[in-house]
């Protein structure tokens, strides 16, 4: 099956920032993304967990975008304008997609 090279960007970010991030992505012309739940984790700012979380609703989510390699820089710039001062992690990996018209 024919595949096309792509980049997969995974951004773990606070729930309160989700709509700001996806708005920024849309502003940068990114049209495809998915949001996955995150149950808990640990990082420089300490650990947290949805269960037994001090304040419900301040959890984190993972926003995943699969994009054409040439759009990566635009996406990262847009994303960083939003997430810069916030906790979380941005990772990028290579992948291939099958239906190129899909993204």
């Amino acid at each position: 099956m024919q595949t096309h090279k792509a980049k997969r960007v995974a951004i773990i970010i606070e729930l309160v920032m989700q709509s700001r991030l996806t708005d920024a992505l849309e502003g940068a012309g990114v049209t495809g993304w998915s949001v996955l739940p995150v149950l808990g984790g640990s990082g420089r700012s300490g650990g947290w967990s949805r269960e037994g979380q001090v304040s419900r609703g301040t959890g984190m989510v993972q926003v995943v975008c699969v994009i054409r390699p040439d759009r990566l820089d635009g996406l990262l710039d847009a994303a960083f304008a939003v997430v810069d001062r916030h906790i979380g992690i941005v990772s990028i990996s290579d992948c291939e997609v099958v239906r190129a018209e899909r993204f």
């Binding site: 920032m17 709509s19 949805r50 001090v54 304040s55 419900r56 916030h86």
Partner: protein, 323 residues
């Protein structure tokens, strides 16, 4: 004093406080007891809907008090002013940075609706009536404190844009909308509407409150376990002093407005309580550098239990003595 003690005893041995204590104990003992997030949120929606609706019905019954509008305005002002006092107090009592102090201050200007609910339930078991519109005052006091805190920060040179999105999020946050909305529904449908849904929003109320406070206890206990390290003695003391300061201001306001005993007590409760839902979310957006462990542990782990156990009976007793 006797009255305070006996009220405190009754309060401490009520199912709702014991449920809270059970939750705290289970969390501190690291039990895996745990109420699913969706269920906890469902219960809080139930409580907000019920308390708003009943408030609206009571306004429909007793008519609009002349002081309704004044109480709302007083609530708005109190909520905006309390953070300034809290901020000053924090700068004296604690070594917190301006940023952290402002974030904490925002919480104490805003309110905790569960503390309010627990307060109405203490009033009820003591047979003390209160103005139904105090629910609307509670809603009015949710947001102004956030603006004050951001103003404090920007005054310190660190300008924060309050973007339109954030203002909308604060003003239309779920709990305000639900509280005000169900208040309106109760007001419109009145006693007739209440009769239809009484078996849902009145009879099981105390029981749901027990389970909800069990969850609050679990969350507070887990917060204390994880976040107790960040609370230095000065900050801790603030968590107990500030509610008393707030209550005193609430008392003055309530007396000035000429509210009933119950109304004065609830004004004290609102002023004494600290937010742990709406304000933290706003702080994560507007002041992401402020440390959430500090304000959450303080508000939910220190002030909430204090108000629930000792604060409520004190406020009710003082209000009874002075009205």
């Amino acid at each position: 004093m006797d009255q305070i003690l006996s009220l405190a005893a009754t309060n401490l041995l009520s199912p709702i406080i014991l449920s809270f204590a059970l939750g705290v104990a289970a969390a501190l003992a690291r039990s895996d007891l745990n109420i699913p997030e969706a269920v906890a949120k469902g219960m809080s929606i139930y409580l907000l809907f019920a308390i708003g609706f009943k408030g609206g019905v009571s306004v429909a019954d007793h008519g609009i008090d002349a002081t309704l509008a004044l109480s709302l305005i007083a609530g708005l002002i109190l909520s905006a002013v309390l953070p300034l006092i809290a901020f000053a107090l924090l700068q004296v009592m604690s070594g917190l940075s301006r940023l952290d102090a402002a974030a904490v201050a925002a919480h104490y200007g805003s309110i905790s609706i569960v503390t309010f609910v627990a307060g109405t339930s203490v009033l009820e078991s003591s047979g003390i009536a209160s103005e139904g519109y105090m629910v609307a005052v509670a809603a009015a006091m949710e947001a102004p404190a956030i603006l004050s805190a951001l103003w404090l920060i920007s005054r310190g040179g660190d300008a924060r844009r309050m973007d339109k999105d954030l203002i909308r999020e604060i003003m239309l946050n779920g709990s305000i909308v639900l509280l005000v909305g169900s208040f309106a529904i109760g007001w419109i449908t009145g006693a007739e509407g209440l009769a239809k849904i009484e078996a849902f929003i009145v009879s099981p109320f105390q029981g749901v409150l027990c389970l909800f406070l069990l969850d609050m206890g679990l969350v507070a206990g887990r917060g204390l376990r994880g976040g107790s390290g960040v609370l230095k003695p000065g900050v801790l003391a603030f968590g107990v002093v500030m509610p008393l300061v707030g209550a005193a201001l609430g008392l003055g306001t309530g007396l000035l407005l000429g509210l009933s005993t119950g109304g004065v007590a609830l004004f004290m409760v609102l002023s004494a309580s600290a937010s742990y839902i709406a304000v933290p979310a706003a702080m994560r957006v507007a002041l992401p550098e402020a440390n959430p462990s500090i304000y959450l542990t303080l508000s939910l782990g220190v002030t909430f239990p204090f108000n629930l156990t000792l604060g409520l009976p004190i406020y009710v007793a003082v209000a009874s003595a002075l009205t």
